[in-house]
């Protein structure tokens, strides 16, 4: 209960860092994946749900449509942390993020296409427009643009969480027994 509001705050504050660095990613699921590693899938699910509701209500209600994608991220991260020790090494974390990117793009592109006509964030939409202009059917243009963005975004998210877990002081890490399992340093 104490961790969820802070994790949602991290999800939203990451937008500020990304916009400062002008990077073509969102990193708005760092808090959700981190909670999955620190406290397991249920807490991650709660973080994902609250995060998307707060983003949808207080930032842009369009984001409410992508609630299922945020929940998918939470479930995937929770399962991977519990059973596959994804944060044991950077390549393992990056690979898991890459797979999540493919899953997230596959879940989000029907929403982008059917609800928003292929228009989402400016960067992704520009790619969609260019691919559409080159003659690719709209549904494939939307999918390719979503895939490219989500693979980069989710891989970066997992690598950032790996960096955070690696920097976690022992005393703080001791408060979160699940973190040791996600890092592969405990049974």
């Amino acid at each position: 209960l104490a961790l969820v509001p802070l994790a949602v705050g991290i999800n939203l504050a990451m937008g500020q860092i990304v916009s400062l660095l002008a990077l073509p990613v969102y990193l708005d699921t760092v808090g959700t994946v981190l909670v999955a590693a620190l406290a397991g899938p249920w807490a991650a699910l709660a973080t994902g749900l609250v995060s998307q509701l707060i983003l949808g209500l207080f930032v842009n209600s369009v984001l409410l449509a992508f609630l299922l994608v945020q929940l998918l991220v939470a479930v995937y991260a929770g399962v991977m942390c519990c059973h596959f020790r994804v944060f044991r090494s950077a390549p393992r974390a990056g690979g898991s993020g890459l797979v999540l990117g493919i899953l997230a793009a596959s879940a989000s592109w029907p929403i982008s296409l059917l609800v928003f006509g292929g228009v989402t964030s400016p960067g992704v939409t520009l790619v969609t427009a260019v691919l559409g202009g080159l003659g690719l059917p709209l549904r494939w243009a939307v999918y390719v643009a979503s895939l490219a963005t989500d693979i980069v975004d989710k891989t970066a998210t997992f690598l950032v969480v790996y960096a955070v877990l690696s920097a976690l002081p022992g005393r703080l890490a001791g408060r979160f027994p699940a973190a040791a399992r996600a890092r592969g340093v405990a049974g």
Partner: protein, 234 residues
């Protein structure tokens, strides 16, 4: 982030849950109403509601968010696919959802929403997570800004080559996340001392009341939804 603005308009005076119910009803109606005229009509009605409720900031916010969205819609559906009608339908639907939620969030004080949930005997955790998050978000954003300024003072470069900017992610993120995690213990103790997890039922000092205006807005919400449905099937 949309912030609450004090006022005396219709949406300010109704029960918080009536306001959110109306937002859900209008958001559903704009997808149920038959295109192309239905979504445009629901959007026009929502603009009137925002004007009558004296919520210019919600209207301004909607314009700021919607203009680039409409631009891309007209580019993709108007220019590339020669179907501007579809751009108008999708744009009206999305602008309606943005406007109605911006209006409700601007009008409803978050604390009143939490009180309304508590008065309905919703679990304490629901209200707590919602209100605590709203307090934490601006604080963490301020902290992210302070960390970025401090790191830049130490020589971190946040502009320039893409590789340099990617390298800057970790020095900006790790201090932010670790400082947030160091608060968890303090919060857990504070919650435990306030009896969270106990069996006692919490009460609200000033629960929001529903009155005649809520009945009228409830009828309006249901009416819009039912009307849109019959317009579609009829």
């Amino acid at each position: 982030v949309i912030r609450h603005v004090e006022g005396t308009g219709i949406l300010h005076r109704i029960h918080p849950l009536t306001a959110f119910g109306l937002a859900v009803s209008i958001s559903t109606s704009v997808f149920v109403a038959p295109p192309p005229l239905g979504p445009v009509a629901v959007l026009a009605g929502t603009v009137i509601l925002a004007v009558v409720s004296r919520l210019p900031s919600a209207l301004g916010r909607t314009v700021v968010v919607s203009v680039p969205f409409w631009g891309f819609l007209l580019l993709i559906h108007g220019l590339l696919r020669h179907d501007p009608g579809r751009a108008v339908v999708i744009g009206s639907r999305v602008s309606t959802v943005i406007l109605v939620f911006a209006a409700v969030v601007t009008a409803v004080q978050p604390a009143r929403l939490v009180d309304a949930l508590a008065a309905l005997r919703a679990p304490f955790s629901v209200g707590y997570v919602f209100s605590a998050t709203l307090l934490v978000v601006p604080r963490l954003r301020d902290r992210a800004r302070a960390i970025s300024e401090a790191q830049q003072c130490r020589g971190l470069r946040v502009a320039g080559s893409p590789l340099g900017r990617i390298r800057a992610v970790v020095p900006l993120t790790v201090p932010l996340v670790l400082s947030a995690l160091s608060e968890v213990d303090e919060r857990a103790v504070a919650l435990a001392t306030r009896g969270v997890g106990g069996r006692a039922v919490r009460t609200v000092l000033h629960p929001p009341n529903a009155g005649g205006l809520d009945v009228a807005m409830g009828i309006l919400g249901v009416g819009i939804l039912v009307g849109s449905f019959f317009w579609r099937v009829g």
